[in-house]
Amino acid sequence: MPNALNLTGIALTVEQGRWKRLARSVAQNSLAPNAAEVDRDAIFPREGLKAIADAGLMALTIPKEQGGPGEGILTTAMVLEELAQGCASTAMVYCMHMSTLAMIAALAKDGQHEAFIKPIVEGKWIGALAMSEPGSGNRLWHMDSFAQRNANGYLIDSFKSFCTSCGQADFYVVPVRADSTQPPTELSLFIIEGKDPNILPIGKWDGMGLRGNCSMPIHFKGCHVPEIGRLGPPTCGFSMLFAYSLPIYQVGLSTVYLGIAEAAYRAAVDHVKKRVHSDTKQTLSQVETVQRYIAEMKMRVDEARCMVYRVAQMSDNAMVLFNELQSADLLDEVIRANPDDPFFIELAQLKFAVSEIAVEVANKAFQVCGGTAYKRGHPVERLVRDARAGSVMAPSDDSLKLIVGRQILGIAQPWE
């Protein structure tokens, strides 16, 4: 039945509509045809990323005054939702790249525009966030490694447990303690270029799902970072990650899982409409149990989308406020004074809510498609494995629930 009403409930701007349609086209024409191969052979999706870059999506949130389109987190979510339906691995790589941009744009000074923002705007660079460390696992607010000042800049020796686009990225944003005397949350942010010979990817990525995103451990083994590679003041990292990276990171991850759920739901609908039993001469769609599964899946996908769009919109509003505070050099102070503001709790809640929905919907799609989906290479088989990454990818659902619970109960957060 055709839609006569706007069922999304959000009126897009002309630009947002254009980006969404562009992303859908990239997903359908460039990502989806290669998704099975990317998954089967654990291939980093260079071709898909080039299509994304050619569409001008790599600098989506870079402000207009810095040469980008100046779009926000809601637009990025709509783009990611489309990309993830084509290939979840590629969407996750793009999500991690996007999670670096707002922070770089907000903190870049002098030569950093030319050095870092220009190649991003030109679609030549793809970035990654290298955060989690072996000592603290998915507790991303705690870093053991630290920067050492020297005559030429900084020496960074840091081992990160999981890093999407490991060994493939053109640049890494690497948070480490500002120096050895600083506590684990007094962080500096460094940009380390991918061409640095002292970057050592460890092993080969052979994940259960999201097999194309090269999320291996990475060792920045004595990387020499010139002065220009440090973003912002020496101890601003924690606040800047909270203000400029966490919102797009959490919304972005959630949107990838939303896209996975949508793709699984669509695959299930497609399957039950086509599959005919020879004894009854009826399609699977005539089976009442299947009809109920389909209804439940749709409801859960819609729930996830509502949550994602709501928090994305909220994040865009927060960005305006954060930019205002940053322009007066007050953001670091304000974020430190409000570490468990309800906005950050909404972000935490969103990720585990949507990743749980993705697992549930993918499992139902699997059930509906039956033995067909049990076969290696079926899209739903891949989506079940992709969805499972959500609950363990840092910060894990269990860590996030702890944060939300503590905030509601008035208990100090682990990083306070």
Binding site: L321, L325, A328, D329, L330, A337, N338, F343
Partner: protein, 129 residues
């Protein structure tokens, strides 16, 4: 039993809340950093009581609070806030986040977009997020 003039109580509570806001505003160095070059008139309009006050923000401070408003609403330096007196008292004493009041439909703000953000940032600094 003595009767109480309810409107007088409301008026004094609103004025008292604005004076409290003035003290917090003027004594906060972070607010001063935030409002460099930002000179405005804040028209506070209690829609249920008809009480109106105008706060003058000049040279990094609330320099004056006066009853009524003689400025034109379309003056770009005027930020007009409309709400019930009770909501205004709660907003100006930090008990009701103005961003929430706006979303709740309890507060109307007539100003440029940047001014709205500035007010939200001021509230965040004075009373926390």
């Amino acid at each position: 039993m003595a009767t109480t003039d309810v409107s007088a109580v409301h008026t004094s509570s609103l004025l008292a809340s604005l004076q409290d806001f003035q003290n917090r505003f003027n004594n906060d160095t972070r607010v001063k950093k935030l409002i460099k070059g930002w000179n405005r008139f804040l028209k506070v309009d209690g829609t249920d009581t008809g009480e109106i006050y105008t706060l003058t923000i000049q040279d990094l401070a609330v320099t004056n609070i006066e009853a009524g408003c003689t400025l034109a609403d379309d003056d770009e330096k005027v930020i007009a806030l409309q709400a019930s007196q009770e909501a205004l008292v709660r907003i100006f004493t930090g008990k009701y986040n103005p961003a929430h009041a706006l979303i709740d439909g309890a507060l109307a703000v007539f100003s440029g977009e940047r001014d709205k953000v500035k007010l939200e940032a001021i509230a965040m600094i004075i009373w926390g997020m």
